[in-house]
Amino acid sequence: MTDEQLADELRALGRAVVPPVADGLTTAVLERVASAPVRRTPAEVIRSKWRALLALLAVLVAGAVVAPPVRAAVAEWLNIGGVEAVPVPSGPTSAPAPPAVSGRLTLAEAGRIAGFVPVVPRVLGEPTGLEASTGFVAMSWRTAGGTVRLEQFEAEPSPMYLKKYWSTLEQVDEVDGYWFGTPHDLVLEDKNGGDRVERVAGATLVWVRGGVTFRLEGAPDKARATEIAVSQ
């Protein structure tokens, strides 16, 4: 047996190890980070009891009382569908308007190419551009406020887009999504895990519905973006 064969066998073995993640992990972590950092020395002693108490607490409140800013701050661990958000210390201060879509497919054609039925937000009407590739649809509109661009894609096992945001990330409860309020680098991750900065993106709303990730860019503010998102 060569080293390579042994390595392959070990990889296959590793893939077969799928321990269950504890129920309520998210809630427990959020509960703990929502409270002030605890000094470890005396806490060590009562750690087991403290944990039990927190676990109990977590069950009782089931995440309901976790403050929204904390939930948003923890979002860098959330893969929002096919988008992964990572915090960076600083970022671009301005962003160009999102690129308009030049394709002119019909909805039916786009759906056939993408392999899922794309959604058109009612409040925006017919898109002025529409293009598609496997698992991906992009459409745009010319509006009084400039170009609005909506991308829809089926979530991949690994993130397709990486958003390097540096300011706050706000949770948008209406669509269970996130609002990236400031310009940020939009990074495309290739199959080998390499990063490529695609472009600088402006404020964007990201949400997931029915296994499809939506990225809406070019809306003037969060309220309008939310309105567009819920009008599907």
């Binding site: 296959a12 073995l13 993640v21 701050a73 895990g193």
Partner: protein, 157 residues
């Protein structure tokens, strides 16, 4: 989150956190949250998180007896092995796992990160906090050691 939680859980279990794996993962996420300021933009999030998991597992080992460690590490239970994944037979899995668990500490860590968790060399270096050259050389020696420990597959079947 589920993706990160899953890989964190696998890391804790494979590095030998045993029955404490859930606690190790929870603790790691809390620490990661508090240390977010030290996370450098431009570097990958996953190895950064896994390094915290690896450190937490090591802390756990330090606080426990040698005996606990031996028992818990050996006790990667069959229940965490996906029964639908038949790429490697059950006996062979056991054999491999046992062989890995009995390797000297450094070898066990490097084989676990590089192969069982399928991290690349750079990620392994980050997670273990070693220079890349060290990862390479220890990995090489670890494989050699493993091969001598394992009964030959071809002969066995």
């Amino acid at each position: 989150m589920r993706q990160h939680a899953q890989v964190a859980q696998r890391t804790a279990v494979l590095l030998g956190a045993g029955s404490e794996a859930d606690d190790v993962v929870q603790e790691s996420f809390v620490k990661a949250y508090r240390a977010l300021g030290t996370f450098r933009g431009g570097s990958a999030f996953r190895p950064w998180l896994l390094r915290i998991v690896a450190n937490e597992t090591r802390n756990l080992h330090r606080s426990r007896s040698r005996r606990w460690r031996r028992e818990e590490q050996a006790a990667i239970p069959d229940s965490v092995l996906d029964p639908a994944d038949a790429a490697v037979s059950t006996e062979r899995r056991r054999e491999l796992l046992d062989a890995v668990q009995t390797l000297p500490e450094h070898y066990r860590l490097v084989v676990t990160c590089r192969y069982l968790l399928d991290l690349d060399e750079r990620e392994t270096a980050t997670v273990l906090g070693w220079p890349r050259g060290t990862v390479k050389s220890r990995l090489h020696r670890a494989l050699g050691r493993l091969r001598t420990q394992l009964p030959d597959k071809e002969v066995q079947r």
